[in-house]
């Protein structure tokens, strides 16, 4: 069992927990993830490591409650424990000086872009951050991102915070203004990452995306996370999770992410019903 030492509600349905896992905290690097299991009957899901505190031996996980597992995780509080956590998994983001890096996080992806932005800045890059959300209340980590980027843009679909529009609109303006961009790094919903890759491709701007397909073991054993990159099948857990956004077969990724949608929706609805019963009791 791995105790939760702190919990914070960042926005409606977006939560942050700190989990005691000293070995992971010691070695985790930007871009890596963990696989967790909330309880003994739970599934294994991958979550990007948002931050770590080596001294306290904790890692921070930020997640949006979208299915049964994340809902169950969101109900835990400081003092509770999760059943399993393994990591850090996947290749860390390469700490290289590219020049100017545009770091884009959509939705809960802002949590994942933060350590990447910090790392790029630490190795001498000019980092331009863009974070996007549906509406003001869902914008997370704006202050932290401001501190780790040279410039930060916020975009919301309804214009309630930052500029109205998508993160791609901001990126497009930057490109059109002629800003020199050496690398775009994007993490967030698949349609967002695809739109970014489509946008940068004609300009030949190197674009790295961090993928989050279905996984079981996360160590290369099951092949659930296979993605087509270029003409090759890759395993996101050991070959990724970062890939060249211009080479990713996006339609296939979306299709594979939907493989268990019906089961997932049923499980989530059931769970919500049961939860409500608990509250009435």
């Amino acid at each position: 069992m791995y105790p939760i030492t702190a919990k914070e509600v960042l926005a409606d349905s977006i939560k942050k927990i700190e989990v005691t896992a000293p070995d992971i905290a010691k070695r985790a690097k930007a871009g890596q993830f963990v696989i967790i299991r909330v309880s003994s009957k739970g599934e294994r899901i991958p979550l990007t490591i948002a931050d770590k505190n080596e001294k306290n031996g904790t890692v921070s996980l930020i997640f949006q409650e979208i299915g049964k597992t994340t809902l169950a995780l969101g109900r835990l509080n400081a003092g509770d424990s999760i059943m399993d956590i393994v990591g850090p998994l996947g290749h860390p983001t390469e700490s290289v000086k590219h020049g100017t890096v545009v770091a884009i996080g959509g939705g809960v992806g802002a949590a994942e872009i933060l350590p990447v932005s910090r790392m790029y800045r630490e190795c001498g890059n000019d980092v331009i951050g863009i974070i996007g959300a549906r509406t003001r209340d869902l914008v997370i980590l704006e202050r932290e991102m401001t501190g780790s980027c040279g410039r930060l843009f916020v975009a919301t679909d309804d214009g309630s915070a930052g500029r109205k529009g998508f993160v791609t609109d901001v990126l497009k303006e930057l490109i059109e203004k002629g800003d020199k961009i050496d690398l775009v790094y994007a993490i967030g919903p698949v349609p967002m990452m695809r739109a970014i890759a489509n946008l940068t491709k004609p300009f030949g701007i190197k674009t790295v995306v961090s993928l989050n397909p279905i996984m079981i073991d996360g160590t290369g054993m099951c092949g659930a996370c296979r993605v087509t990159v270029g003409s090759e099948t890759k395993f996101a857990c050991v070959d990724g999770p970062e890939f060249d956004g211009h080479q990713v077969h996006w339609d296939e990724l979306i299709q594979r992410l939907s493989a268990f949608k019906v089961n997932e929706n049923n499980a989530t609805e059931n769970y919500k019903r049961v939860c409500k019963c608990d509250q009435h009791a």
């Binding site: 050991v238 296939e252 299709q255």
Partner: protein
């Protein structure tokens, strides 16, 4: 003495094909004694030479025949840390029983069934204090990476020598392929748990959720005070055929399909959170034990038709005869001399058919098996809603990629010398990661590696 061997009692095919309860029932005590009395107690003991872990087979069988069961258990456990597992999953027909002099009569002694009987007897008669008694665990400290058959056997041997043994496992549960790969109906988890508990009682420490290479490096383990390390990390990456449409939904590697069901208990969804599709028309690609396990698992999940597609003929199938026989009894269909060319999906990306080509057998290839070649124009389409690809594994590159000094062969297997030592000093390896293929081969290597580790530690101490 009866001339024919006593068949393993098993549950009727119709009854068992829809649940996950064990197929084989095991001998009764009378059956076990009668079968044991068939052993000729040959002076030359050819069967022992056929056993990768060198069990004193005639001795444990004699003990059963004379109803000295505690002795039978002791003899077995002296050489084999996991007899209840081996009695169920070892291909005895290719090993000890193949060397039995009674083979000429067509009825070798049922060594595997007797091994299972003795191991189960121990479990049911609570002699665990004798057989699993704690050894005096002291130094030196050895780390075992991976809790599959190779690692567990190596650990079991090393505690016998009085070593302080710690196993690191990357998954949340122990047993490796014995847990995630082999289904409940062939190897019940409680049997595995029992054997694991014996090891723990004998002083073996186990840490799950620890992926060596990522959570800790090999060098971290040395700095923590481990003096030798055994790598039994398994084969790893599932192979795919690289045919069009293979990434459609509901096409799984056998590892994924079996892990969902065995490790994550997906057959009990929604009580357990991990889902698995209930394919109605299922194709399983491959001819090994994993293919049989996948096909029979799909059937138990509710498939109405499961077809095993294998590109050679029945004769060349690497699966155990018993497994093929069980699969046939349960109604698995076999498409021999058939090769999948590709898959097509529906508008939502779920597989709906597999296109196949018929094959014929040509000249023998380097493996000695006749090489299949396509029959022109024989293409046909099989409608399916799920496929499981069980054509083998390639070595997981993670650990060698992340560990300086750990060299691999051209096939990606770890290079080892005659003493199972890798190219990194003090680091030994065995099992699938060095080219093993079966549970018992992995166990044999784990056992031999333990001897080498003992030798290595002895020398190391002398040098000090």
């Amino acid at each position: 003495m009866r001339p024919t061997r006593i068949n393993m009692p098993q549950r009727p095919a119709r009854e068992r094909a829809r649940d996950f309860i064990e197929v084989n029932l095991g001998y009764s005590s009378r059956q076990a004694q009668e079968e044991a009395q068939r052993c000729l107690q040959c002076k030359t003991r050819p069967c022992v030479a056929g056993c990768p872990v060198g069990i004193s087979i005639p001795d444990f069988i004699k003990a059963i025949a004379e109803n000295r069961m505690p002795d039978a258990v002791k003899i077995l456990k002296d050489k084999n840390s996991l007899p209840a597992v081996c009695g169920r999953v070892c291909p005895q027909e290719d090993q000890c029983e193949k060397k039995c002099v009674l083979l000429k009569s067509g009825h070798p002694v049922a060594i595997g069934h007797l091994e299972r009987y003795a191991a189960d007897w121990e479990k049911e008669n609570d002699v665990s204090r004798q057989a699993c008694a704690a050894f005096d665990v002291t130094e030196p400290r050895v780390a075992i990476v991976g809790s599959g058959p190779a690692g567990l056997t190596c650990a079991g041997e090393l505690v016998k020598f009085g070593f302080d043994v710690t196993i690191f496992e990357s998954l949340h549960d122990t047993g490796g392929v014995l847990r995630y790969g082999i289904p409940e109906f062939r190897l019940p988890k409680k049997i595995l748990d029992y054997e694991l508990n014996c090891l723990k009682k004998r002083g073996v420490k186990i840490f799950t959720n620890t992926l060596i290479g990522r959570t800790k490096s090999i060098d971290d383990l040395f700095s923590e005070g481990f003096e030798a390390i055994f790598l039994g990390v398994g084969a790893g990456l599932p192979k795919f055929m690289r045919v069009p449409g293979e990434n459609l939904n509901n096409i799984f590697s056998a590892n994924e399909f079996l892990s969902r069901v065995n490790l994550m208990n997906a057959y009990m969804f929604p009580e357990y959170d991990t889902p698995v599709p209930e394919g109605k028309r299922v194709a399983v690609i491959g001819g090994g034990n994993t293919a049989m396990d996948s096909a029979r698992t799909a059937l138990r999940l509710g498939a109405s038709e499961v077809t095993l597609i294998y590109r050679r003929s029945k004769q060349e199938m690497p699966a155990r005869v018993e497994e093929v026989h069980h699969a046939e009894e349960e109604g698995i269909k076999f498409a021999f001399l058939t090769d999948p060319l590709g898959y097509k999906g529906d508008e939502r990306g779920f597989v709906k058919e597999v296109e196949c080509l018929e094959m014929e057998l040509g000249e023998p290839d380097e493996s000695g098996r006749r090489k299949p070649r396509p029959v022109k124009g024989s293409n046909f389409v099989m409608p399916i809603d799920m496929a499981v690809v069980a054509i083998g594994l390639s070595p997981n590159p993670l650990l060698p990629r992340l560990t300086k000094g750990l060299e691999t062969t051209d096939w990606g297997e770890l290079k080892i010398d005659n003493d199972f030592m890798t190219t990194k000093k003090g680091v030994f390896a065995g099992g699938d990661i060095v080219g093993g293929e079966t549970v018992i081969q992995a166990m044999g290597m784990g056992k031999d590696a333990a001897q080498s580790i003992k030798q290595y530690m002895f020398q190391k101490r002398m040098e000090c």
